[in-house]
Amino acid sequence: MAIALSRPARRRLRTLGFLSPWLIGFSVFFAYPLLATVYFSFMHYNQIKAPTFVGLRNWKYVFQDMPLFGPALWNTLWLVVIMVALRVVFGLSLGLLVTKIKTGVGFFRTAFYLPYLAPPVAATVAFVFLLNPGTGPVNEVLSKIGIDGPNWFNDPTWAKPSLVLLSLWGIGDLMVIFMAALLDVPKEQYEAADLDGAGAFAKFRYVTWPSITPIVMFAVVTGVVQTMQYYTQALVAGKIASGVSIGPGSVIQPGYPDHSTLTVPQLVYSMGFQNFNTGAACVLSLVLFAIAMAVTMLLMRKRSGLLAAED
């Protein structure tokens, strides 16, 4: 028996039908995990017994009794500020370089892009080997020219800068994006600037920069979001550099040396799937989510302002 539907009802159904792929994806992969994370942040749940309500105990634990939360948050924010900024500057510089050079363009573009294709774990292991203070070739070369090289990944002061070096080595993704943006700047504008007698800096400031601002903002926003989730390289570098044997029965705290490479995502995993402290892991995830949202919103507002100013 056919059901007669009013025209507005049919329209709503049609609209829902078109929206359903997104609605299902949003509900299953964003809304449900987010709601479950909020729910578990108020529960004691060891992933084996039924969850029990504990009020704000997990929140108090994270903010008062978890000594690693402070260092993890500091390291994450340090990486967000330093690594993202340097990656953007370095990526843009390389983009400018490969758009300016006349000979061997293909070779240089490929050479600068290739490291980005290296699997993160393999690249990190190679870097830890190269920068090994005792046997690594980098310190070997430095010592030959009279420099006592640092302990790199084995020194709390140098561990994060070493991770930044690793990220700059794999800058190929940003280089390609900036290269495309730079090649998209209308040539007529440069010709007009030449006629006005503009120098290289003035051309960059008044022609190039306004054209690529949206791409720079894109690089910054995606960089911030990615760095807030920084996990693999820091974990692998810490584990390999520590030299600690990880046998079938052993658990080690990530962040070697002295928690200097510990990031919030590592702490989330450690809490959730090593200690099975689901509540604390959920609190940490929510804190990370809130910070990422706040920073992104701030940057997006800044971007709107920049674009409005250009208009």
Partner: protein, 445 residues
Amino acid sequence: MPRWRIPLRAPVLLTAAGLLLAGCANPSTGSATDDPTKPVTITFWHGWSAEGEVKAIDDSIARFEKAHPNIKVKSVGNVSDATVNQALRAGGDEAPDVVSSFTTNNVGQYCDSGMWADLDPFMKKTGLDKKKIFPQSLLDYTSYQGNQCALPLLADAFGMYYNKDAFEKAGITHPPKTMSEFVADAKKLTVRSGNSYQRVGFMPNFRLYQNSPDRLFAQWGPTYFDKDGASRLAKDPATYQFFGTAKKLMDAQGGYNALERFRTSFGDEMSNQNAFLSGKLAMHLDGEWRGLMLNDSKAKFDWDVAPLPVPDDQPETYGRGYLTGTVAGIAHSSKHQNAAWELVKFLTTDTDQVVKFANAIHNVPSTNAALTSPKLDADPKFRTFLDIAKNKYSQVMPPSTNGGMYVVQLQDFSYTQEAGRVPDLKAGLKRLDKLIDADTLQSQN
């Protein structure tokens, strides 16, 4: 229809669905109603991965299957505790029936969470008296608050390997027995080479191979928790003596930074590049299994084994050491718990099996009968570890509801302390106690 009703419905629906799904996230539970005389296949997860070890456990399973033709065992090796922990929480058809762990650290967690089934009812059903079969110290580390959710499947004792050639060269006639002798000998045995070393007497750095701080700390016989379960490291004088001795050892051999830098040049522990095997260390804390590896690798120097030194004011405890071991149990989710018990019983209590397995992988046997068996490996170096295991002062780690979290906290603190970044040891230890207690509270329901 008013427009405000749609945005209200969606979140309410999602919240309800979220809470419903969240509440359903509980793994399946098993049963002990199966008939162990009926044909069945059970799955056994273990951590052994080296060729010789895998052969030894496979031979053990073959002996079991011969004795129990109706039970087939599917053996899965190289399984870590993290995998056991996660898999038993996730449940599913591929989950194991019999589980084992290379560490005793997580027994408290396994028992308290109910992940591993209580074995007392099985022992009662089959008439086994655990107190007669196992040494008490081993029963202590396989139970938590009266729940015997695991049984010892061979034990590990830690002692000191030493390079006899290096001793002779340095004019040392016997291994050190007290901590003062230890520091003095370590200094004599250390050979510098420019800014680095040719050899270090004893490397106390806590990140070296098996040097987890709890292992050397065992020589002082510390008490980790008071009767109420609160951490008491700051109150125990042994803690201060232990860190003091570790610092003396460091200072006598060039200090933390130089030693740590040398450590980063060491090869993998389980390879021929092992620092003791390659002559970079003259004295070395390690477990009984290392002897087999040194023999297999044909070490280029003469070596021997002795118990680790003890504090100067506790000479009567010489011969003690840190004890741990592999433990075995039954997964809570197993639907064949009676058949699984047959395998656990065979592996852990059958004297002939325990002796054969101990000899094959060079581990310390874990039953009273096996410890005194004439069939045990007669190698005097190996027997040193048997004596350490039998020593009444030897120490096992107390089980805790959150597994080895307090050990991880102690390790973390020790790394900072050895690097000289704890300005006030007493205040640091008080903070450590507070953190361990907070972790314990957080893990309790």
